[in-house]
């Protein structure tokens, strides 16, 4: 294999991670040897990170704050919290471990902020103890020139509930990865995602849920809408190990093409080694219902308003996972504001 010529972003990343430990050392080594992933890598075929990070040439800084205070790299949460990842221009890396103790109930409001031309690689490790409940609400409203790549690994113990609702408006490349290890035994995982992409933006929801124990429940619902030259990517995988009998798992991705020139790429996968399970996946693409649009305009709504209402009603469903009404209204409001600008 030939020696690769590193891009400025790769060089900055290699320098930044010099002497790093844990996953960062491995990540550095991967970049040294192969560069950032390109579309030739199966898992990145619709999200060419090497290409998207061109133009980012310097090192940057990411500030990680928890309830407005600088966050340690390991934290135990037993009450509601607000987590902010705030990246400056350039390449930056964030790492955070979160422990939710057995029986705790936590709502984590997570906000991603990016400067123009910021390229953030973040890794979150979340562990839910037995019977714990974590509701994680992620909003990503970032500049088009930024590139956030946020990978979260979640381990869910018996009887615990993990609910995640993510809203993103995309960017040059936005990747939200969630990898869940699901113990079953009464544990529940609910993954909700919404992407609304104006022209030229990209968003990628990639996830795996691995059921390792029996009797687990997983519901995943991702809905998206994409304008001209925008690209929505959904890669979802459920893996059910042999011990995970009576797993009940359902995956749904539905997208609305707001323009013929939008691109939606979806790869739902089931990998099942247990024989007594209920697993299903569904994937559907559609366009705005022109008859409904005319009906609404005939009643007096402007075309923009009618389109916004139709798109909102299509997209809002996964946000129903947010149980706190104030937070749900806030996130739905972000969606609505965005729609008024692009509908």
């Amino acid at each position: 294999m030939g020696v690769i010529t590193h891009t400025p972003a790769e060089k900055a990343l290699i320098d930044l991670l010099d002497g790093a430990e844990d996953w960062r050392a491995a990540a550095r080594q991967a970049v040294v040897e192969h560069g950032l992933p390109t579309k030739r890598a199966e898992a990145w075929k619709w999200s060419d990170l090497r290409r998207a990070s061109q133009g980012v040439e310097t090192a940057g800084v990411v500030k990680v704050t928890l309830n407005d205070a600088s966050a340690p790299t390991r934290v135990t949460l037993d009450g509601d919290a607000r987590l902010v990842l705030d990246a400056t221009a350039g390449v930056s890396v964030a790492s955070l471990e979160i422990e939710i103790p057995a029986g705790a109930r936590v709502c984590l409001n997570e906000v991603h902020k990016m400067a123009e031309s910021a390229f953030l690689t973040a890794r979150l490790e979340i562990h839910l103890g037995e019977g714990a409940v974590l509701e994680r609400v992620v909003t990503s409203d970032v500049p088009e020139t930024s590139v956030p790549v946020v990978r979260t690994r979640v381990t869910v113990s018996a009887g615990a509930t993990y609910r995640q609702a993510t809203l993103t408006f995309g960017s040059r490349l936005s990747r939200h990865e969630t990898h869940v290890t699901h113990a079953g035994e009464g544990a529940e995982v609910h993954l909700g995602g919404v992407y609304l992409l104006s022209e030229n933006r990209h968003a990628d929801f990639t996830s795996t849920v691995t059921h390792t124990g029996p009797g687990g429940l997983t519901r995943q619902l991702v809905k998206g809408a994409a304008a001209a030259h925008a690209q929505g990517v959904f890669q979802g995988k459920f893996k059910v190990e042999q011990a995970a009998q009576q797993t009940d798992a359902k995956m749904t991705h539905r997208a609305l093409m707001l323009d013929d020139r939008a691109e939606i790429d979806a790869k739902p996968e089931l990998e099942i080694y247990a024989d007594d399970v209920q697993c299903a996946h569904g994937n559907a693409l559609g366009a705005i219902d022109e008859t409904a649009l005319f009906y609404m305009r005939q009643r007096g709504l402007s075309e923009v308003k009618a389109r916004a209402l139709l798109i909102e009603s299509f997209l809002a469903e996964p946000l129903g996972l947010i149980s706190d009404e104030t937070l749900r209204e806030h996130v739905t409001g972000l969606l609505r504001d965005r729609l008024e600008r692009i509908a």
């Binding site: 609404m296 005939q298 009643r299 007096g300 308003k305 209402l309």
Partner: protein
């Protein structure tokens, strides 16, 4: 009030071809009158309702349609709605996720804003909507549900009339409002329509059958076939059509 003169309209078919549907239709409905249009399937009745309200794909190629003295052919559907044109759809559309009350409040206030009128506040609107719903025997529970979702054919038609009662248009086009209704639902809907009759309001009732006209008594009945009005007369014309059918009119044009 509504004045249509020598209207020609073509519709884009699914193959992308332009097909002429209306071929020189003329019609005038003064304020305060109810006119019925009767005609066989394929005569262009629904096309007339869509071209009047400005649906995409329905192109006027000749003639004129004036509403309240203004040519409306170039106006957007929502501009025509704000001027007071209302279409009760033959097949009311389901809109999942949008509660009926929210939809109607947005629609009413959009129309009012477009006319330069003050918007109605939420409590004012709720009170007004409740009164109108009660008159038509529609529960508030139904109004909280998404627009037309899960409603029976009869309920949808009743909601169309309720929407008209709330939006208070100047002119109503009722497109096959009787289809899918049993006799009790037909009576309720007709009562709703009759309460909307007023000296300032005009109506065009499009129907295939005469039975609706027993409950909504028209001032004038027009017979339409092959994209034109072939005969106009009083209510007795509807009974004549019921007895004799459309054959003799179809004979005239083919």
């Amino acid at each position: 009030m509504l004045k249509i003169n020598n209207l020609h309209c073509q519709v884009e078919t699914q193959d992308g071809e332009e097909k002429p549907i209306l071929k020189g239709l003329s019609l005038e409905v003064p304020a305060g009158e109810v006119h019925a249009i009767m005609g066989p399937n394929g005569s262009g009745k629904s096309t007339l309702s869509y071209v009047l309200t400005g649906r995409d794909g329905y192109e006027v190629t000749d003639g004129k349609m004036d509403f309240l003295g203004e040519d409306i052919a170039e106006l957007e559907p929502e501009e025509r709605a704000a001027k007071g044109l209302y279409l009760s759809f033959q097949y009311p559309v389901e809109i999942p996720g949008v509660p009926t009350l929210t939809f109607l409040k947005e629609a009413l206030n959009a129309q009012r804003a477009s006319r330069g009128e003050a918007e109605m506040t939420a409590p004012e609107f709720l009170k007004f909507a409740r009164e109108q719903a009660k008159a038509l025997g529609v529960s508030m529970d139904m109004l909280k549900r998404p627009v037309n979702v899960g409603f029976s054919g009869g309920e949808k038609k009743r909601m169309e009339i309720l929407q008209a009662l709330i939006l208070q248009p100047k002119f109503l086009i009722l497109d096959e409002t009787d289809s899918g209704l049993d006799i009790d639902a037909l009576k309720t809907v007709a009562e709703g329509v009759n309460t909307l009759r007023s000296p300032e309001r005009g109506m065009l009732v499009i129907t295939h059958y005469q039975r609706l006209l027993d409950h909504i008594k028209p001032d004038v009945v027009h017979v339409m076939a092959a994209g034109r009005i072939l005969k106009s007369g009083g209510p007795e014309l509807a009974h004549e059509l019921e007895a004799e059918g459309y054959d003799k009119y179809l004979g005239e044009v083919t």
